[in-house]
């Protein structure tokens, strides 16, 4: 009986460790996706001159999940509720946070960007996109560092923590 309990404990802590490490490795990936999406958005705004909700649907079809969920949500919401873009944008960021590993810094950057979206002419809009991209680049660097630093450690730490607690209790 004791052994089953010990096994469960080790398994849980290992899983927690792996999940943590997963988050660390996914974060740069997802930031990169968001960056790609913004680059497409820039192209759609500058060259195709699409209105935002159409641009969102284009991006959603070109970007892998989970970032596509963000743009899908924006597109769907703007289809039938045309009241406030920033409100919908904030909601969409929550959806994105739920499904992806982006951190609070990235959320804040995206939120700031949402305030400027669609309020300026081409030139300024492009500047805002560039600014957001450079902010995201900085976060990407940091996320990559974190992954390298803590990625492996997180996994082993999970297993070891489990073992440690088991040893203590035995």
């Amino acid at each position: 009986m004791q052994w089953i309990g010990a096994l469960l404990l080790v398994m849980t802590s290992t899983w927690v460790g792996f999940d943590w490490s997963n988050k660390l490795s996914n974060r740069p990936k997802h930031i990169r996706q968001v960056k790609n999406a913004l680059q497409i958005l820039e192209a759609e705004i500058l060259y195709s001159q699409l209105p935002l909700h159409e641009a969102f649907s284009v991006i959603a079809s070109q970007i892998p999940s989970p970032t596509s969920k963000f743009f899908d949500y924006l597109y769907e919401e703007l289809q039938h509720d045309k009241r406030d873009l920033f409100y919908v944008w904030e909601q969409a960021i929550e959806v994105l946070t739920k499904y992806s590993s982006i951190g609070s810094n990235e959320q804040e950057i995206l939120k700031q960007f949402g305030r400027t979206l669609g309020q300026h002419d081409f030139h300024q809009q492009q500047k805002h996109i560039q600014l957001t991209l450079s902010h995201l680049e900085r976060e990407l660097e940091e996320a990559r560092d974190h992954h390298l630093k803590y990625g492996k450690m997180a996994k082993s730490l999970g297993v070891l923590c489990g073992l440690f607690v088991v040893l203590l209790l035995l």
């Binding site: 705004i45 699409l50 935002l52 045309k82 873009l85 979206l117 309020q119 002419d121």
Partner: protein, 325 residues
């Protein structure tokens, strides 16, 4: 009028609806000014929505609604100073203008909006058709001050020509719609009924558009709005010499006034237009005051009290003369 009401913030919609109260037919303009109440202009009077004072947020909301949250797409519109929305209504915008080397780049702070309600009055040109048709359509110029219904008449004239009326068969009509006012197109699709055989060149400069139309769409009748500049007149003369019939409008109060404008001198000198239709501000919008022929002679004049003083020869105002042409 859903497409107009939806521009306003939710909180204001109800009170505007209440103010207009089913008088949508009479409504000409809704004027919005920052930190001031909304003004409503009806055919006969203007009223104020004193209950509503527009704030900056309201304006941001309305501009977002107009641009579908994509202000960057409105570069042309912000330079020209107006936006056409669904239903062919036009929103005039004013505020702080940005210039680059003295040329208007865009309106940056939008603080005045003027929602001009499009009046598509199908059939308003009925009375007029017989004046401008004698075996073939005549080159016609609608003359009137702003808000006298020139464009409305022009649109219906185009529709009638392109669809045919009474026994007269439809003609190919080309509309060069520089200010998107005649057809009220959105993405090239006319929002108004402009007839079966009509092609529309939307948002195209008149002078170029007329030649483009003639080259590409071979119209029999060319409809353009608000000629005025030297370039327009040149293109017009060219088009007429290409064998196309021109129907157009111009701002002005009287024929004499137009004669004095140097850019129009050539038009009068060559008697290009065979019919001038004068619209009067004192009458209801779209009411024809006087019809002149190419020599400036009056063919028909509205006289409310003495309808029998009409010149029967060209008039179709009386039932028994209907369709005699």
């Amino acid at each position: 009028m859903e497409e107009i009401i939806r521009l306003f913030p939710n909180g204001l919609q109800a009170s505007i609806q209440k103010k207009i109260a089913g008088r949508w037919n009479e409504l000409q303009e809704i004027r919005c000014r920052l930190n001031r109440p909304i003004e409503i202009i009806l055919n006969s009077a203007n009223e104020w929505c004193t209950a509503i004072t527009l704030t900056k947020q309201d304006f941001t909301y309305m501009v977002n609604q107009l641009s579908e949250f994509s202000l960057y797409r409105m570069e042309d519109e912000l330079r020209e100073g107006y936006i056409t929305i669904e239903g062919g209504h036009r929103i005039g915008i004013a505020g702080k203008v940005n210039t680059i080397q003295g040329i208007v780049k865009a309106i940056q702070y939008i603080t005045f909006l003027n929602i001009r309600v499009a009046k598509e009055k199908v059939g308003c040109a009925d009375k007029l058709m017989s004046y401008i048709f004698q075996g073939d359509y005549l080159n016609t110029l609608f003359v009137g001050a702003p808000q006298t219904g020139k464009t409305t008449l022009l649109r219906d004239t185009a529709r009638q020509i392109a669809t045919g009326w009474k026994q007269i068969t439809a003609k190919k009509v080309g509309i060069v719609d520089e200010r998107s006012e005649i057809a009220g197109s959105i993405k090239g699709v006319p929002q108004h009924n402009v007839g079966n055989r009509t092609d529309v060149m939307d948002a195209c400069p008149k002078a170029e558009g007329m030649m483009m139309m003639i080259r590409s769409m071979s119209p029999e009748v060319l409809v353009v709005d608000e000629i005025g500049s030297q370039k327009d007149v040149q293109a017009l003369l060219e088009a007429i010499n290409a064998g196309v019939i021109i129907i157009s409008t111009i701002h002005g109060n009287s024929l004499e006034e137009l004669r004095k404008r140097p850019s129009l001198y050539q038009l009068f000198d060559q008697h290009v237009f065979q019919r001038f239709i004068l619209l009067d501000r004192k009458l209801d919008p779209g009411q024809i005051n006087t019809v002149y022929n190419e020599y400036g002679e009056i063919i028909s004049k509205v006289m409310e009290d003495r309808p029998h003083a009409m010149d029967w020869g060209t008039s179709s105002r009386h039932d028994k003369h209907m369709g005699r042409i």
